[in-house]
């Protein structure tokens, strides 16, 4: 019997129908509902950070700056950086897809500490309110990197409030990471050994280790910064024997591992999608999982590459440079393994796969340009210019955001019980890919030519490339608005999804879409290795 999309039958019971009151949402301990709460929150922050970026690119259309005030521009890029780093990129995949899927993939009914999970969301929201206050009621103009003594002794802005917000948000991150690590150790379903876990879980485990070990250092650093700003004395002040470089060491000791917090979950998502849409086992599973661990470990050893021209010694520079080249090796191995997965597969090009392939291309470009700035003599020329800006946007936006969209589309049927309109999904993927490259590729050239970052105005000879970049940004913005529109549409009018619309492996696909509150009617037992695809899809259920 055929039905039109608007006459779908009433929904089967699921975690979504298990209570409709506001209280049942705001006091939930169900990891799936908490994931939805987070999804709404980080989407709001993504758009706030995006609007800041759009205004920045608007400003840079003309050399003297369309927005007259340099101070406003400085506040815009600080807003963009703070919001995007701490309120979108660091949480994004872990708190949405991670919270939703970790128990399901483990074959568990919830995370180890459900109340801690809800508390982490409240911490995030509180931190978010404080940061919005800091950024908009007066503003912060120091850049997201908060270098001293600019922040401690000279800047006029809500630095302490911004620092407080980031510290509180950091506690939310630590709580999430702690929950994932303990859950993965203690709540695996019977038969699920470590090597039977999907790569997404390994990636989140590695991410969580970084979260719990690096974030406390940031908290301490920002507290010391706040003390110095409030009392006008501190350990970063050269006038009383302090050292501004100490701040940089402490700050980057967190912030470099932080970027791996951002990318590892994305790599995990891609490692799920490529096998699913190639109907083939992941190539080199053990290499891929241990590369995630290697990336997490080595990520703690490279922070000094942000300080090659900061006044550190040549010996320090040499050590950090070689380690920075080494940290790129496991990522390269993963790229080869993903491509190896496609070899002799049965490749389908649904939206998740398009985003995942886009990830591989753009992440590789971003990673290769990381080699440019890891190479010492090249970094001296390229650091602090638009080259670095392009590099990190390729990995974080071209990489991580593409992976986030890939995961959102892949697991959308599982999370919402609805299918999104596939053609719109593919169209958005292409528009985003093209808009992204138009926006950021010219910035590599701008950086080589010497245009500094964080400049509200610039010499006229840089205008053409800036205009190209801003044009790309308008296309990219359109690309990002499309999923917001059609995914929301699908919530009301999309076709209802079956348990496993993609024919994928993984315990999450063995339960209904959307799942029941308790996830599984009976706790599954795992006997098969992960990714045991056949050309017809996952014929062998794991239970």
């Amino acid at each position: 019997m055929s039905m039109t999309a608007t006459q779908a039958p009433p929904a089967a019971p699921s975690y979504l129908t298990d209570g409709f009151t506001l209280r049942s949402w705001l006091l939930t301990t169900d990891h799936k509902r908490i994931a939805i709460l987070y999804l709404v929150s980080i989407t709001i922050f993504f758009f706030i950070g995006g609007v800041a970026a759009a205004l920045m690119r608007y400003n840079l259309i003309v050399p003297e700056g369309m927005i007259g005030s340099a101070e406003t521009y400085n506040r815009l890029f600080t807003t963009h950086g703070v919001v995007m780093v701490w309120f979108f990129l660091v949480p994004a995949i872990p708190v949405t897809l991670g919270n939703f899927l970790v128990p399901l993939m483990l074959g568990a009914r919830d995370l180890a500490f459900p109340k801690l999970n809800l508390f982490s969301w409240y911490l995030f929201v509180f931190a978010g309110l404080v940061v919005l206050y800091a950024l908009f009621a007066g503003g912060v103009d120091t850049g997201w990197t908060f270098y001293t003594p600019l922040t401690t002794l000279y800047s006029k802005g809500h630095v302490v409030a911004a620092a407080a917000a980031i510290i509180i948000g950091g506690f939310s991150t630590i709580a999430t990471g702690l929950n994932f690590i303990i859950s993965i150790h203690r709540l695996r379903a019977p038969g699920m050994t470590w090597y039977k876990m999907p790569v997404f879980l390994w990636s989140l485990y590695a991410t969580s280790v970084i979260m719990v070990l690096a974030t406390p250092v940031l908290a301490m650093t920002l507290l010391l910064l706040a003390f110095e700003r409030i009392f006008h004395v501190g350990v970063f002040d050269p006038a009383i024997g302090g050292d501004p470089l100490l701040f940089q060491h402490l700050f980057w000791f967190y912030s470099h591992p932080a970027v791996y917090i951002m990318i590892l979950p994305g790599m995990g998502v891609v490692s799920e999608i490529i096998p699913a849409f190639s109907s083939k086992q992941l190539f080199g599973y053990k290499f891929v999982v241990w590369c995630s661990v290697a990336i997490a470990v080595i990520s703690f050893l490279v922070w000094g590459h942000h300080m090659f021209v900061a006044g550190t010694s040549v010996y320090s520079a040499l050590v950090f440079s070689i380690l920075s080249f080494m940290v790129a090796v496991p990522s390269a191995i993963k790229v080869f393994n993903w491509i190896g997965t496609m070899h002799k597969g049965f490749i389908r090009f649904d939206a998740p796969m398009l985003y995942a392939l886009g990830f591989i291309g753009l992440f590789t470009m971003g990673g290769l340009t990381g080699l440019f700035v890891a190479a010492l003599a090249a970094d001296v020329h390229l650091t602090q210019t638009y080259f670095v800006v392009a590099h990190f946007h390729y990995v974080m936006v071209g990489g991580m955001v593409s992976a986030y969209f890939a995961g959102m589309h892949f697991w959308w049927p599982k999370i919402t019980g609805r299918i999104y309109p596939e053609m719109w999904g593919r169209a958005a993927a292409f528009i985003i890919f093209i808009g992204f490259n138009l926006t950021f590729f010219p910035q590599f050239i701008l950086g080589y030519l010497g245009m500094p970052r964080r400049y509200h105005s610039y010499p006229a000879d840089f205008q053409v490339l800036n205009v190209l970049s801003s044009a790309g940004a308008s296309i990219l913005s359109l690309g990002y608005l499309l999923p917001l529109a059609y995914l929301t549409w699908s919530l009301f009018y999309g076709k209802r999804a079956s348990a496993n619309p993609w024919g994928a492996t993984g315990l999450e696909w063995q339960t209904s879409s959307p799942p029941l509150t308790e996830n599984f009617l009976s706790v599954p037992t795992v006997t098969e290795p992960p990714y045991n695809y056949t050309p017809q899809g996952a014929v062998q259920p794991n239970v």
Partner: protein, 317 residues
């Protein structure tokens, strides 16, 4: 419209070669990655009936191979970048010294002959130039893209950059470390001139005495001569009963500190002695040197350093 960058120094082409090698390596790897993705997308698309055959069972060899290849290429790039960096790091000893003070939001430049500039730096072509830089407030960064160099400029210490500009012309100078509202206005130009033109410029702009002469005035005014003697001869002469080290001939010579460490008396050493004397307690002298922190600006300190540098032992009475 600008799509190329001048190579104004002797070393700029070397940096460009490294960057070009990185570009070529990236292109090859990207061609491989994009190429294979496209190839597999077409050849192994779901509807394609081609025989996919058996899957490889032992993938170890492939993994080790591409890991090894990656390691070798990356290590090679590291060595190239590191070698160039180390060579560029060490300033030649015969560099022409020029002093730079960064402050919100301008660059102040002082030549040894006393010539002063704001947001500009005139230099002769074909000679190694060494910049000695400090900041009066926050961290700035002195950046000259055409020279392929930059370095942070910190408050409370001296940082150094050196280069040998070979092509006369005007080149952008940027501040590249966010320093507040006027960060993007802290720009200027480097003017590289031929030898004779530079001499001419020096003569045209050199009023007010050399840096060392201005430093001597400060030396007297702030009472340094009271302990260190009128010509920096030291405090065991008739003029003073206070034991203070001789300054004549000090610059560039080794000094034994109270804890036994031996350091070279360079610009940073002299600056510390004036501003943070307790950091540099000299052996066999009591720690009674007062600090002049807060009484001298960074430019004053540079003048005193220039003066002390100029004192040779021959000038003792």
């Amino acid at each position: 419209m600008k799509f190329w960058l001048a190579q104004a120094t002797a070393d700029a082409p070397e940096v460009d070669y490294l960057i070009l090698a990185l570009v070529l390596t990236s292109c090859v790897i990207l061609a491989l990655v994009f190429g294979l993705i496209l190839l597999y997308s077409v050849k192994y698309r779901a509807g394609s009936p081609i025989d996919r055959g058996e899957l490889a069972k032992k993938t170890w060899r492939l993994e080790i191979s591409w890991t090894a290849a990656t390691l070798v290429i990356f290590f090679g790039l590291f060595v190239w970048g590191a070698d160039l960096y180390v060579r560029l790091f060490r300033a030649p000893s015969n560099g022409l010294r020029i002093y730079v003070v960064g402050k919100q939001w301008m660059w102040k430049v002082e030549h040894e002959g006393g010539q002063r500039e704001i947001n500009a730096l005139h230099i002769p072509a074909g000679r190694p130039i060494q910049l000695v830089m400090t900041s009066e407030d926050v961290i700035h960064d002195f950046s000259v893209p055409a020279f392929r160099i930059k370095h942070d400029v910190l408050p409370g210490r001296y940082e150094s950059l050196w280069f040998n500009a070979v092509t006369p012309g005007k080149y952008h100078l940027f501040c590249t470390q966010l320093c507040g509202t006027g960060h993007a206005q802290m720009v200027g130009e480097i003017v590289v001139m031929s030898g004779p033109d530079y001499q001419h410029w020096l003569e045209q702009n050199g009023a007010g005495g050399t840096l060392a002469e201005q430093g001597q005035t400060l030396f007297m005014r702030f009472g340094c001569s009271g302990c260190h003697g009128g010509n920096g001869a030291g405090g065991r002469q008739a003029e003073s009963t206070v034991p203070a080290p001789a300054l004549a001939g000090l610059y560039g010579s080794p000094v034994t500190l109270a804890d036994g460490e031996i350091v070279t008396a360079d610009d940073a050493y002299i600056r510390d002695c004036i501003l943070i004397p307790e950091k540099r307690r000299v052996a066999s002298y009591p720690p009674i040197m007062p600090s002049f922190a807060g009484q001298l600006s960074e430019e004053d300190v540079l003048k005193l350093v220039a003066y002390i540098k100029s004192l040779t032992p021959k000038e003792q009475p």
